[in-house]
């Protein structure tokens, strides 16, 4: 169906069900319980999950397939964000033109940068992309935000002002916020069931729907002859060149496609929250998507999405656990013990969430080089081995080639 084999189709269906039911799945704890701290089912975080999922899927098309490690993908994210906000400023708050323009501009930008950086490979390529991204950041942060020519509004971030033209905006009929044909991105239906509260948000479902399309396209790319070509680049580009194939068009296409994915993610970020800050282009943001992809499993289909989810979860949930919350958790212990526990855990939560994330990243890279996906596969294998109990067939060693 849809040009997919049965296995990929079932993966797509599982992902679709998970994203559509995310508001339920991510809120496993009742709203009044102490564990509600760990609920992730609120619109902002769910939007981040799928948007950064798109970003990581796109990054994986370049990194996972061709092995070209770009350290500058945040630049495309930023370009997408700025394009989308400019559409809000000029045309009005409908998100579709903004999202469309963000894909187009980031694609063009990626073409330009790709033409230059792809002349080199390996570490030189990484450094070149990093240099371009930092240049873009400096441009957005400072150079293009002077009072005479204010394209990015610098540190404050580009936002929509009351005196912007907004030619097609009708504030009587349409909400004064990003919307899709009148349906505000911020519109949220809260449903209370028993002690649980679930939030169904328009912006989230738009992003989730677009992520499914992106995911489907990524599967098709992975399984296509084009995808095979990209894998060939990764395994041995030199040999490929010697056979008379020019690999440059393929890598450039992959670079532009992943740049467009990043731009789309940036556009969606602006669509759900109409402010584009320059720090989206900083090298830390570029590094984050590399982490997401490696954490989840580079070269796998679902890995980057999982990695993006994990990192965003840590950033938003663990960073909000303060000492007050900790004292609340351990209040059942005697005073001395309580303070001891709080002191022990304190460095790993709140502003120390980076530390926890770093430890997890270290553990994953050391013990699960294939990322979370490999972890899942190992667990799956363990279960199936137990089930079949065919322990007597030792793994046969195969000759190297």
């Amino acid at each position: 169906m849809l040009g997919l084999n049965a296995k990929d189709m079932s993966l797509l269906i599982v992902v679709a069900i998970l994203t559509m039911c995310a508001p339920l799945i991510l809120n496993p704890f009742p709203a009044d319980s102490a564990m509600a701290q760990f609920n992730a089912g609120y619109p902002d975080l769910m939007q981040k999950f799928v948007i950064f999922g798109i970003f990581a899927i796109g990054f994986n098309i370049l990194f996972g397939l061709t092995g070209y490690l770009s350290f500058g993908h945040a630049a495309f994210l930023g370009v997408g964000s700025y394009s989308c906000v400019w559409m809000f400023k000029l045309l009005g708050y409908n998100v579709l033109p903004g999202i469309a323009l963000s894909v187009v501009t980031s694609g063009l930008f990626a073409l330009l940068i790709g033409l230059i950086t792809l002349r080199r490979s390996g570490i030189y390529f990484s450094i070149l992309t990093l240099a371009f991204a930092q240049m873009s950041f400096a441009l957005a942060y400072s150079v293009l935000s002077n009072p005479k020519f204010n394209l990015t509004n610098g540190e404050t971030g580009l936002q929509v002002y009351a005196n912007d033209p907004q030619w097609f905006h009708n504030s009587e009929r349409l909400p004064d916020l990003p919307h899709i044909f009148g349906l505000s991105m911020r519109a949220t239906q809260k449903v209370s069931v028993g002690g649980w509260e679930f939030q169904f948000n328009t912006g989230y479902y738009l992003c989730a729907f677009i992520m499914l399309i992106c995911f489907y396209l990524a599967i098709r790319i992975f399984r296509s002859p084009f995808g095979m070509m990209l894998r060939a680049v990764k395994s041995n580009q030199q040999r490929m060149n010697y056979t008379g194939l020019n690999s440059r068009p393929y890598t450039l296409a992959a670079f532009v496609i992943s740049g467009m994915y990043a731009g789309l993610a940036g556009g969606l970020l602006s669509a759900v929250d109409p402010l584009a800050g320059a720090e989206r282009m900083q090298w830390t943001a570029s590094g984050e998507v590399v982490l997401m992809t490696i954490l989840g499993g580079a070269g796998t289909l679902i890995g980057p999405v999982l990695g993006a989810g994990l990192i965003k979860y840590f950033e938003n949930i663990f960073s909000k656990i303060n000492d007050n919350v900790l004292h609340g958790w351990f209040s059942f212990l005697p005073d001395g013990m309580e303070d001891l526990m709080v002191t022990l855990i304190h460095p790993f939560v709140g502003k120390g969430w980076h530390l926890t994330l770093g430890i997890i990243f270290m553990l994953v890279v050391t013990f699960l080089p294939g990322g979370l996906v490999e972890g899942g596969q190992r667990i799956g294998r363990m279960l199936s081995r137990k089930k079949s109990k065919e322990a007597d067939s030792p793994a046969s060693t195969e000759p190297a080639e």
Binding site: N39, Y42, P43, D44, L45, K48, Y141, S142, P147, G154, E155, T156, G157, Q159, Y161, A162, N163, D176, L177, L183, R186, A187, T188, Q189, K190, Q199, F200, N201, T202, Y205, D273, P274, L275, G277, E279, R280, N316, S319, K320, N322, N324, G350, K351
Partner: protein, 448 residues
């Protein structure tokens, strides 16, 4: 050939699915019964404290958080009540806000607009915060203020000194107690002219964002009006930590005053660099070279150590003030934490009390009602003398302190001495002053 099987059951199924599909969007648009965003219903009300816990303003953020916790304690009837006892409005009685216990959630802005908005959004969407306050950077404050306007909650700005916060970026749901760049210029310039003379040549190093720009503009305008010249203005990135390459060119520029439009960690580093280059011992144009830091705080003075001695600046509040409000605040803050509060802590504490008081007087948390209660509100007893919350731009007007790094500090907290208390009349400006023009408050948004 296609073969169609039209059955009654099939028709019903299709009809039901289509109906559900058509009806689906309506469940997203249907608004809940609440009259405004996060209307508190239970026995408690949640406030969101969004401060920088990492980055160049982390020290200020930590002190702000202490002040917020103190304010919550006082609102709930704990501690000695602090400035609630000296506040001219007597509607707060220590029983929370409107009888509800005050609870709070915290977040880290990282001094980045994006992160600050994400943190504020999670407070509003997940924790049900009905008011957001905090910020130690004007860029962040403006970004979060815009978010609160969209989401329909009140934003009580913390430490934000840019003219834009209540100028071109002002919002109906946002309120600022802190003073701004214009006021610093108006208070500081006459003192500088009196001490250093009227024929000075100033070189500005400016943090490259909204606060730096507007403060530089304000200081340059105010000093030029008294006869100074502005030789150069160099913008420095907010994340910069080494300023030696920016300080070196000052020596050959012919300037005899260096104005550091830096705050927090930035100012500590740039001042240290300037002192290390020996600027303070130099003679230029036959005059002693001078350094000015227009926006000063005790935390910065502490960070810069010896280097601040004799350096002029302005501040919103200082713990050595002797009015009843300041004394009460310093006492309860000192009892709880063991050291005096900073100006950031003061403005955040005051903003929390002002919000609680406005809700109490309005009888509702509805942002529109709160805004109405705050607009044009005149109060006293919160450490700055008689103060007005101007209705036109939601900016507080009060006296401004001109301070100087103390030559002989008696303790590690006694680092600044007050040179002059500039009366409110001298720092007032029209709401449509050119430095503040270009924006509009819009109308208050209760959300929901």
């Amino acid at each position: 050939m296609t073969k169609s099987n039209l059955t009654r059951r099939g028709m019903l199924k299709t009809g039901a699915v289509t109906g559900a599909g058509v009806a689906l969007p309506t469940i997203f648009t249907a608004s809940s019964a609440a009259a405004f965003t996060n209307e508190p219903t239970g026995s408690s009300v949640t406030l969101g404290f969004n401060v920088p816990q990492t980055g160049p303003y982390a020290d200020e953020g930590a002190d702000e958080l202490r002040a917020y916790e103190l304010a919550v304690e006082h609102l709930n009837g704990g501690g000695d009540g602090g400035m609630m006892n000296t506040f001219s409005s007597k509607s707060l009685d220590g029983s929370g806000i409107l009888g509800r216990k005050v609870e709070f959630v915290t977040g880290d802005t990282q001094t980045k607009s994006d992160a600050a908005r994400a943190s504020a959004k999670s407070m509003i969407e997940k924790d049900g915060a009905v008011m957001i306050t905090g910020g130690s950077s004007s860029g962040v404050a403006i970004a979060v203020q815009g978010l609160c306007q969209e989401a329909g909650v009140i934003f009580m700005a913390g430490l934000t000194h840019s003219n834009d916060t209540t100028g071109k970026d002002k919002k109906a749901n946002g309120f600022r107690h802190f003073f701004n760049g214009y006021m610093s210029g108006a208070a500081l310039a006459p003192v500088l002219a009196a001490r250093y003379g009227k024929d000075r040549r100033a070189y500005h190093l400016t943090a490259d964002y909204t606060w730096g720009w507007t403060q530089q503009e304000s200081i340059a305008a105010a000093t030029e009006a008294l006869g100074w010249q502005t030789v150069n203005n160099v913008l420095t990135p907010l994340a910069q930590t080494d300023f030696s390459s920016y300080v070196a060119p000052v020596l050959n520029s012919g300037a005899d005053v260096l104005v550091l439009n830096h705050y927090g960690g930035n100012m500590v580093n740039s001042l240290t660099a300037a002192v290390q280059f020996g600027l303070r011992e130099k003679q230029v144009n036959g005059k002693d070279f001078e350094i000015v830091v227009p926006l000063y705080s005790r935390l910065m003075a502490k960070g810069a150590g010896e280097n601040v001695k004799g350096i002029f600046g302005s501040t919103n509040w200082h713990w050595s003030l002797t009015d009843e409000g300041s004394k009460a605040f310093v006492k309860s803050f000192g009892t709880k934490y063991g050291f005096p509060p900073s100006q950031a802590a003061h403005t955040c504490y005051v903003q929390t009390l002002l919000y609680a008081d406005a809700v109490q007087r309005a009888g509702s948390h509805n942002p529109c009602a709160v805004a109405e209660a705050l607009e044009g509100f005149e109060f006293d007893g919160l450490g700055n003398g008689p103060t007005l919350y101007r209705a036109e731009d939601h900016q507080c007007f009060k006296d401004v302190l001109v301070v100087k790094g103390k030559d002989n500090p008696t303790s590690e907290f006694d680092l600044l001495e007050i040179v002059e208390i500039t009366p409110r009349a001298q720092v007032e400006y029209a709401a449509d002053h050119p430095m503040f023009a270009g924006g509009s408050l819009g109308s208050c948004n209760p959300g929901a």
